[in-house]
C-alpha cells in the first residue's frame, strides 16, 4: 500500500514538473479565455509569442506542416484569417513577400527584426530589372533567417514583447517577466552555438541552402552555399561542383537529415556532414529542443 502511494505521488509530481517546464506545451482550448489570436509567420516567432503571452491567447502559424514559411503564399481563406488576428508577427528582411499583395491593417503588423534592419544581410546575385521610362528599380533582397543569429533572435523577442504589451497593457508585468526568462534562454543558446562552432574553423563549410547567412556571420563560420535538397539525389554536375571545392576537410551543413544514398556518396568523398535545423516550421513545443540538438551536433564535430 505504501509503495503504491509513493509511486502515485512521484508520478503526479513528475507530471507536474513536466507541465511546469518551459511552456513547451500547446495551450489547450480549456485554458484559453478569449477568441482573440495572434499569427506568427514562422516557428521561432510563434514560440517567442506563446512564451511571452502565456496560455490565454492562441498563437497560430498558418503555414502547413512541411512547407517552408518563406515560400508560403496565403490563399484567400488564410488572408481572411489574418485579417481577424490581433497581431501578425512578421520576421522582416523580406521574409513574407506576399505582404505587398494582401490587404491587412498596418496596426496589426509587427516587423520583429526592423530594429536591427541595419544588420540585415543584403543578398548578391539577385536579378533586378528595369523597363520603360521609370528606369531601374531593383528587386534585390535580403537574407531573412535572422533568428539563426541568437543575438538578432533576442531583438525579435523584444519586439514581440513590446507589441504584446501595447496590445494587452494589463499583462505588461507578466510579459516583462516572461521576456526576461526568454532572453536568458536565447542568450544561453547564443553561448552554446558560439562554443560549439569554435572548432569548426578547420573545416571548409558547405551549406545545403543559402539560409545560414546570419548563423554564419554570427558564429564566424563562413561557407559556400549550394542548393541541395536532403531527399533529392544531386546530379553528377552538382557532385562535381562539390568535389571541386578544394579543402582539407569539408563539413556539409544540412537543414534536414539527408538520404542514405547521399550520406554514402559523401562518405566516399570523405565529406562530413551535420544537420543544423533552422526550425522555421516545426511544432511549437520542439523549437527549444531543436536548438539544443543543433548545438549538440555541432559540438560533436570537434
Amino acid at each position: 500500500m505504501q509503495l503504491r502511494l509513493s509511486t502515485i505521488l512521484f508520478t503526479a509530481l513528475f507530471c507536474g514538473l513536466l507541465t511546469a517546464c518551459g511552456g513547451d506545451s500547446t495551450p489547450s482550448q480549456q485554458e484559453r479565455k478569449t477568441d482573440s489570436f495572434i499569427v506568427a509567420v514562422n516557428s521561432p516567432l510563434q514560440y517567442f509569442a506563446q512564451r511571452l503571452i502565456g496560455h490565454e491567447f492562441e498563437v497560430r502559424m498558418l503555414t502547413p506542416a512541411g512547407t517552408d514559411p518563406a515560400q508560403w503564399q496565403p490563399d484567400i481563406e488564410d488572408i481572411l484569417e489574418l485579417q481577424q488576428a490581433e497581431l501578425i508577427l512578421l520576421n522582416g528582411a523580406g521574409y513574407s513577400d506576399w505582404l505587398n499583395k494582401v490587404s491587412l491593417s498596418e496596426s496589426q503588423l509587427v516587423v520583429t527584426s526592423v530594429a536591427a534592419n541595419d544588420e540585415w544581410i543584403q543578398l548578391e546575385g539577385q536579378v533586378s530589372h528595369s523597363h520603360g521610362p521609370q528606369g531601374e528599380h531593383a528587386h534585390s533582397g535580403y537574407a531573412f533567417t535572422t533568428w539563426m543569429d541568437m543575438n538578432l533572435a533576442q531583438v525579435q523577442a523584444k519586439a514581440v514583447a513590446k507589441a504584446l504589451q501595447i496590445q494587452w497593457p494589463e499583462k505588461q508585468a507578466d510579459i516583462e517577466g516572461n521576456l526576461a526568462s526568454l532572453l536568458d534562454e536565447l542568450a544561453a543558446l547564443d553561448r552554446g552555438y558560439a562554443d560549439a562552432t569554435t572548432s569548426l574553423t578547420k573545416y571548409q563549410i558547405v551549406y545545403s541552402h543559402p539560409v545560414y547567412q546570419y548563423f554564419s556571420r554570427r558564429y564566424g563560420i563562413p561557407g559556400i552555399s549550394l542548393h541541395w535538397e536532403p531527399d533529392v539525389m544531386p546530379s553528377d554536375e552538382q557532385w562535381r561542383e562539390l568535389g571541386g571545392i578544394e579543402a582539407d576537410r569539408t563539413l556539409f551543413i544540412w537543414e534536414a537529415h539527408p538520404s542514405s544514398e547521399i550520406i554514402e556518396r559523401m562518405g566516399e568523398m570523405g565529406i562530413e556532414f551535420v544537420v543544423v535545423d533552422p526550425a522555421a516550421n516545426i511544432e511549437i513545443g520542439r523549437w527549444i529542443s531543436v536548438q539544443r540538438e543543433n548545438i549538440a551536433k555541432l559540438a560533436a564535430q570537434k
Binding site: 503564399q73 484567400i76 488572408i79 481572411l80 485579417q83 505587398n100 499583395k101 494582401v102 490587404s103 491587412l104 491593417s105 498596418e106 496596426s107 546575385g125 539577385q126 536579378v127 533586378s128 530589372h129 528595369s130 523597363h131 520603360g132 521610362p133 521609370q134 531601374e136 528599380h137 531593383a138 528587386h139 501595447i166
Partner: protein
C-alpha cells in the same frame, strides 16, 4: 349633400386648368419652405453625424474644408497627399491607430477609396454578400454602387482614366467585385473600396508584368548589365490582377513614400485624442490635423444663412401668391353670381349654394395641402441625397 358635391365636382372638372394652376402655385409656395427647411436640417444632421463619428482627420497642409470633405465624403478637388509612412509615424506616438484613405480615382461617378480592413470595422459596415477585400485588384462596393450599376459579387469594375491623354501615367485597372456592403445610409454606399496598395497600382506606382528572366521575353530585353536586365517599353503590363499573375505585381521603391490622401486617427482614449491633437498642432507643420466637426459646422453655418434668406424670399412670394389666389377666388365668385341666382330661383337652399361656391376654394386648398404634405415626405426621403450632392459639388 352628395348631389351637391357632385355638382361641385363637375364645376371643378370644367375649370380644371385654372384650378390646377392655382393648386400648383399654392403647393409650391407652401412646400418649398418646408422642403428647404427639412432638407437643410436633415443634411446638417447627417453631415454633422458623419463628422461626429470622424472627429479628427490628418492630411497634407492646405484647405481644412477640402480635407474634411474629401475624407468624409471622398469628394475632393485637390490632389495633395502625404506619405504612407505617416501611418506608422502616427501609430508610433501610441495615441491612436491609423486608417489610410486614398480617394483620387473614380469608376465613372463613384470614388475608388483605397484603405485598410480597419476602415470597415471603424464605420461598422457589414457585408450584404461576398467577403472582404483580400488581395490586390479586389474591390468591395457600396450598396448604392451595386444598385445603380447593377453589380454583384463576381462582376468587374474598371477605373476611369483621369484624362484622355494620360497615356504614360494612370491607366484603367480592372478590379473584381468580391463583396457588396449592406446599405449604411452614408457616403460609403456610393464608394468602391479597395486595399490602399491597389490604389497605388492604379496610380502606376506598382505593376505586374511578364517575367523578364526567361527566353520568351528575349524580344523585350535591350541589354543585360550584370544582374540588371534592361527591357524596352513594350513589356506587357497587366491591367487586371488575377490569381495567376498576382505574384508578378510589385512596387517601385519604398512603399512608405507612396501617397495617401488622408488619415483617420482612432485615438485609444479621450486623453490620447487630446494629446494627439496637441502633438500635431504644435510639433508638426508638414501635416495638418483638423477637427472635422468644427469644419462641417462652419460650412453648415453658411448654408443656414443662405437658407434663411431663401425662405424669407419664398415667404414674400407666398404672401403675393396668397393675394393672387384670393383675387382669383373673388373673381370666380363674382363670375358665378348668375349661377347662384339660377340655383336660388330653381329652389336650391342657401347651404347648397354656399357648398357649391366654397367647394372650389376648399378643394384647391385641401389638394394643395395634401400635395405639399406628400412632397415634403418625398423630400425628406430623397432630398437629402440631392442636397448633399449639391453641397459637395
Amino acid at each position: 349633400m352628395r348631389d351637391t358635391l357632385y355638382l361641385s365636382l363637375q364645376y371643378i372638372r370644367h375649370h380644371r386648368v385654372k384650378l390646377l394652376v392655382l393648386t400648383f402655385a399654392i403647393t409650391l409656395v407652401s412646400w418649398l419652405p418646408m422642403a428647404i427647411q427639412s432638407i437643410v436640417e436633415q443634411t446638417a444632421v447627417q453631415l454633422l453625424e458623419r463628422a461626429q463619428k470622424t472627429p479628427l482627420v490628418i492630411g497634407s497642409p492646405g484647405s481644412p474644408l477640402e480635407l474634411s470633405l474629401g475624407s468624409l465624403y471622398f469628394n475632393s478637388k485637390t490632389s495633395s497627399t502625404l506619405p504612407y509612412s505617416e501611418i506608422s509615424t502616427l501609430e508610433q506616438t501610441g495615441y491612436a491607430r491609423a486608417i489610410p484613405l486614398h480617394y483620387r480615382f473614380r469608376v465613372q461617378n463613384y470614388s475608388v477609396v483605397g484603405t485598410s480592413p480597419g476602415y470597415f470595422e471603424y464605420r461598422a459596415l457589414r457585408l450584404e454578400t461576398g467577403r472582404p477585400v483580400a488581395i490586390l485588384g479586389e474591390a468591395v462596393i457600396g450598396a448604392g454602387v451595386a444598385s445603380t450599376m447593377g453589380l454583384s459579387v463576381g462582376d468587374h469594375v474598371i477605373t476611369s482614366p483621369e484624362s484622355v491623354f494620360d497615356l504614360a501615367g494612370v491607366y484603367p485597372l480592372k478590379m473584381s467585385v468580391v463583396g457588396v456592403l449592406a446599405p449604411s445610409l452614408s457616403p460609403d454606399d456610393d464608394a468602391i473600396f479597395v486595399d490602399i496598395k491597389t490604389s497605388w497600382v492604379i496610380q502606376g506606382l506598382g505593376h505586374g508584368h511578364q517575367e523578364l528572366n526567361n527566353h520568351e521575353s528575349l524580344g523585350q530585353i535591350l541589354k543585360r548589365e550584370g544582374d540588371n536586365i534592361v527591357a524596352n517599353a513594350s513589356v506587357r503590363q497587366f491591367n487586371e490582377v488575377t490569381r495567376e499573375n498576382l505574384n508578378s505585381f510589385h512596387f517601385h521603391g519604398d512603399t512608405a513614400n507612396n501617397p495617401i490622401s488622408a488619415i483617420i486617427p482612432i485615438p485609444h482614449s479621450e486623453k490620447s485624442a487630446a494629446l494627439l491633437l496637441g502633438h500635431y498642432l504644435e510639433e508638426r507643420d508638414d501635416v495638418q490635423i483638423v477637427r472635422s466637426r468644427q469644419i462641417i459646422a462652419d460650412l453648415l453655418g453658411t448654408v443656414f444663412t443662405v437658407r434663411d434668406y431663401i425662405i424669407v424670399g419664398i415667404g414674400l412670394i407666398a404672401v403675393a401668391t396668397g393675394f393672387v389666389a384670393l383675387l382669383v377666388f373673388y373673381l370666380s365668385l363674382r363670375l358665378r353670381k348668375g349661377e347662384r341666382y339660377t340655383l336660388a330661383r330653381i329652389g336650391a337652399s342657401n347651404l347648397q349654394i354656399q357648398v357649391m361656391m366654397a367647394t372650389e376654394v376648399i378643394t384647391v386648398l385641401l389638394v394643395s395641402a395634401l400635395l405639399s404634405f406628400c412632397l415634403t415626405l418625398i423630400t425628406r426621403h430623397y432630398g437629402i441625397t440631392l442636397m448633399q450632392q449639391l453641397l459637395l459639388s
